[in-house]
């Protein structure tokens, strides 16, 4: 048994999910659609396809894992969970892609994760026995240490406990959901009270393992606690124009898309990108594993951002932020990509 039977059985092949899938849009090939991938999983489960079947290997890595197929499925197919089970099998041990294996090895060493954060100076640790706790995130504390400072400024009540490791989302999405689950649980134990995270991907993964009620993504937390910023963000003497790139897991996994928009609207002129809800191609390790496809998706996104004539594009997930920054830099664009928390703290009060 590779898959939970109840998960796999749920799909009735109606094809409702096809138009939501970015990889199907690229190829028009059933194999790269959610329904087709579920057919592949079934063929694997029943032994009609061999473990080393090239289509299985190709599609397991071609899928972005963006879960855009989930909210549009009326039957309630939990594709994200199916994908985790599939990759657990497909990428077990040595068959997992090398770059993913290296990254996973890095982030599971929690001293290393902590060390890089200290070198890069994330928010100072502040302990409290009851929370709410700010989660630092493994990638974010290294790449974007300013985000945790900003989050603390926006919600000063947050404690920042020491000894935080990684939540294991990276493992779960790359063929090792067992480790992913263990890491999430142990992080849950290390962070008292409600866990506030500044990363959409971590939020969805944590919620799946420590329970939805304990997890709040920053924008959700700020809106719930009425921490709506006031003031106006100005650029060249006019109100700034700001777009948002949704985090796939936040939008499709947790159903959060209204809150970040509400926060932006409170301080700036909000501009909706036509494909704000569609994946930017970062997709965890995707930009490393499938640079060509990732770049293709990103390029459309950057076109849209340029056409929207915005001053800032906001991300709510470190991977997306990095992806957008790279894309904009390559184009020599004047648009700045920032994390939502960073945007909100630069607003003059």
């Amino acid at each position: 048994m590779i898959f939970s039977k109840t998960l796999l059985d749920r799909c009735i092949s109606c094809g409702y999910c096809l138009p939501a899938c970015p990889t199907y849009a690229m190829t028009g090939d059933e194999a790269s659609s959610p329904r087709g991938r579920i057919s592949l999983m079934r063929a694997l489960e029943t032994g009609h396809l061999e473990d080393d079947d090239p289509t299985l290997a190709e599609q397991a890595s071609f899928c972005l894992g963006c879960r855009a197929c989930e909210p549009v499925c009326p039957a309630g197919v939990e594709y994200g969970n199916l994908l985790e089970e599939w990759r657990d099998h497909q990428w077990s041990g040595r068959r997992s892609p090398l770059p993913a294996r290296l990254l996973m090895a890095l982030v599971s060493r929690s001293w290393l994760v902590r060390a890089q954060g200290l070198v890069r100076r994330h928010a100072r640790t502040v302990t409290s026995a009851s929370g709410p706790s700010l989660m630092l995130g493994c990638v974010e504390r290294g790449l974007f240490p300013r985000v945790s400072h900003a989050a603390r400024k926006l919600a000063p009540g947050l404690s920042v406990p020491k000894r935080q490791g990684c939540c294991g989302a990276l493992h779960a999405h790359n063929g090792d959901s067992g480790t992913g689950e263990r890491m999430a649980k142990s992080l849950g134990d290390a962070l008292p009270g409600t866990i506030v995270t500044t990363s959409g991907g971590c939020a969805a993964h944590l919620a799946a393992h420590v329970g939805r009620p304990r997890v709040r993504e920053l924008s959700e937390y700020l809106v719930e606690h009425d921490h709506l910023p006031s003031g106006r963000l100005l650029v060249d003497g006019r109100v700034a124009r700001v777009a948002l790139q949704d985090s796939c897991h936040l939008r499709n996994g947790l159903g959060i898309s209204r809150q970040p928009r509400e926060l932006i609207r409170a301080v700036a002129e909000y501009v909706e990108l036509p494909s704000a809800g569609a994946c930017c191609g970062a997709a965890g390790t995707y930009s490393i594993l499938r640079p060509r496809e990732s770049g293709e998706i990103l390029s459309v996104k950057i076109d849209e951002i340029e056409a929207a004539e915005v001053d800032f594009v906001v991300a709510v997930n470190p991977g997306c932020l990095r992806q957008l920054k790279t894309g904009l830099r390559k184009r020599g664009s004047r648009v700045r990509a920032v994390h939502l928390a960073e945007l909100l703290v630069i607003v003059p009060r």
């Binding site: 109840t6 059985d9 749920r10 799909c11 009735i12 092949s13 109606c14 094809g15 409702y16 096809l18 138009p19 028009g28 090939d29 059933e30 194999a31 087709g36 057919s39 592949l40 063929a43 009609h48 396809l49 079947d53 090239p54 289509t55 299985l56 599609q59 499925c73 009326p74 039957a75 309630g76």
Partner: protein, 460 residues
């Protein structure tokens, strides 16, 4: 069975090697469509990009006597795209251009792989309406809609796909390209091949371009909900609405089970305690919409509705319609095998048909939920069961055979919009009789002498 090497090579020369798929995994995903219980792996999947490529593929296939199954989104519910005799699945999902939208001629010209929703949105953007509105509109292709003559949620007032096809470009199995009809509303030169190809389920020719009629967009539209004790009561209200001289844009019903699953997915705040829900809607000039919505509310109340409400705005109205569209997949929340059927009876016989379905479900000890396009007398009894329960699967086949017979006996038909495909071929003779079936076969031979196009379906 793998394709002959020379033949596969020749196909690759036509469409490019990357567009001929023959790996087991790539074939496995084309073994089925949205029809449960039917499954057959093809020998190759070919993705043409132009009419010329389609023609060359068909010429090769005829020469080699290899079956070809045209396929759009594979959302049909009658195993119409299952390659029952193997061969090639010809996937038209790369031909996705909207070639033209003409506001003064009120028409659009599109390639077959364009989805219905994309065409409809493009029309809306120019303040026009593409009227056919199948529940699967976001997924299904215009080519597939035409090949199945799809109906939908606006069928009563606006008719089905057939009423909107002005002209087609199609490739015959011999590789000849024909252009039927054209851009005109009035054109009676020759047999009406446009209509013959519409609903031909990919057995006569491959549609490579379609010219479809558009209408001016209605100024206003609205949708309301009425709850009833039972589907029978709701169908009486339907009769009363039509007898009152109203031809509403929407008249759809759902029974209790459907309402429950749709509510679970869409979270609209629908009432779960009623036996049936009737969705009624109107579009047109503001005054007409207001007047007809009011009349329909009154009629529902008079015929015993438990509660009647009207959508407060267009967003809510759209949400109600969207919820209705997804009833089939939502039903699978009740169990993992969902067998949906599609019968139509004259509208006055609908209460009887609903009663017959209930009785048959009881007799075979099955859970059958029913929803449908009430305005057209088009019902979708849907059975939800456990696929591992072989006995139940056997009973489903028998029960639906009786449902079809019951529909025919009530002067109805075995399919109102989904088509015959492979799934209903065994019942076609009951509906058409031997003489007509013979004629169908002779027509098939005239188009497809080698019998390569979608064999095992219509005309076989």
């Amino acid at each position: 069975m793998a394709l002959d090497r020379d033949f596969a090579g020749a196909l690759a020369d036509v469409v490019g090697a990357g567009h001929v798929h023959q790996a087991p995994g790539d074939l496995a995903v084309y073994a089925r469509d949205a029809t449960p219980l039917f499954h057959q792996v093809p020998d190759a999947v070919v993705f043409p990009a132009t009419t010329e490529q389609v023609a060359r593929v068909l010429r090769l296939a005829t020469a080699h006597r290899v079956p070809v199954v045209p396929r759009g989104a594979g959302s049909n519910l009658c195993a119409a795209t299952v390659p029952v005799r193997g061969g090639i699945v010809l996937a038209l999902t790369r031909m996705t251009q909207i070639l033209e939208i003409s506001t003064d001629e009120l028409l659009a010209r599109v390639q077959p792989g364009v989805t219905t929703a994309r065409l409809a949105d493009a029309a809306t953007a120019r303040n026009l309406l593409y009227a056919p509105d199948p529940g699967s509109r976001t997924t299904a292709t215009v080519g597939g809609n035409i090949a199945t003559c799809a109906g939908g949620l606006r069928g009563l007032k606006y008719g089905v796909t057939r009423n909107y096809v002005l002209g087609l470009e199609a490739v015959l199995p011999t590789g000849e390209v024909v252009r039927t009809g054209g851009r005109l509303w009035k054109d009676v030169a020759g047999y009406d091949l446009t209509r013959l190809l519409t609903g031909s389920e990919g057995t006569l020719a491959v549609i490579t371009e379609a010219t479809v009629a558009l209408l001016p967009a209605p100024a206003e539209s609205n949708t309301g909900v009425a709850y009833f004790e039972s589907l029978t009561e709701a169908s009486r209200a339907v009769g009363a609405i039509i007898s009152a001289g109203i031809v509403p844009a929407t008249l759809e019903f759902l029974d209790r089970k459907c309402v429950a699953v749709v509510e679970e997915y869409a979270g609209l705040g629908l009432r779960l305690d009623a036996g049936a829900l009737l969705l009624f809607g109107e579009d047109g000039p503001l005054a007409t919409v207001a007047a007809n919505m009011l009349r329909m509310r009154q009629i529902c109340a008079e015929t015993g509705a438990l509660e009647v409400t009207v959508a407060e705005d267009i967003v809510r109205s759209e949400a109600l319609l969207a919820a209705r569209r997804c009833s089939l997949p939502a039903l699978s929340r009740l169990g993992s095998l969902t067998v949906l059927e599609d019968v139509t009876v004259p509208r006055p016989r609908m209460p009887e048909m609903v009663g017959r379905i209930d009785e048959i479900a009881d007799r075979f000890d099955l859970q059958i939920a029913t929803f449908g396009h009430a305005g057209d007398g088009n019902l979708h009894p849907t059975c939800v069961l456990d696929p591992d329960d072989e006995d139940a699967v056997g009973r489903v086949h028998k029960a639906f055979a009786e449902v079809f017979r019951a529909a025919i006996r009530l002067d109805g038909t075995i399919t109102g919009e989904h088509g015959v495909g492979s799934a209903k071929l065994p019942f076609l003779a009951d509906r058409l009789g031997a003489t007509q079936l013979g004629l169908l076969r002779r027509i098939k031979t005239a188009f497809d002498p080698a019998g390569i196009l979608n064999p095992g379906k219509l005309g076989s």
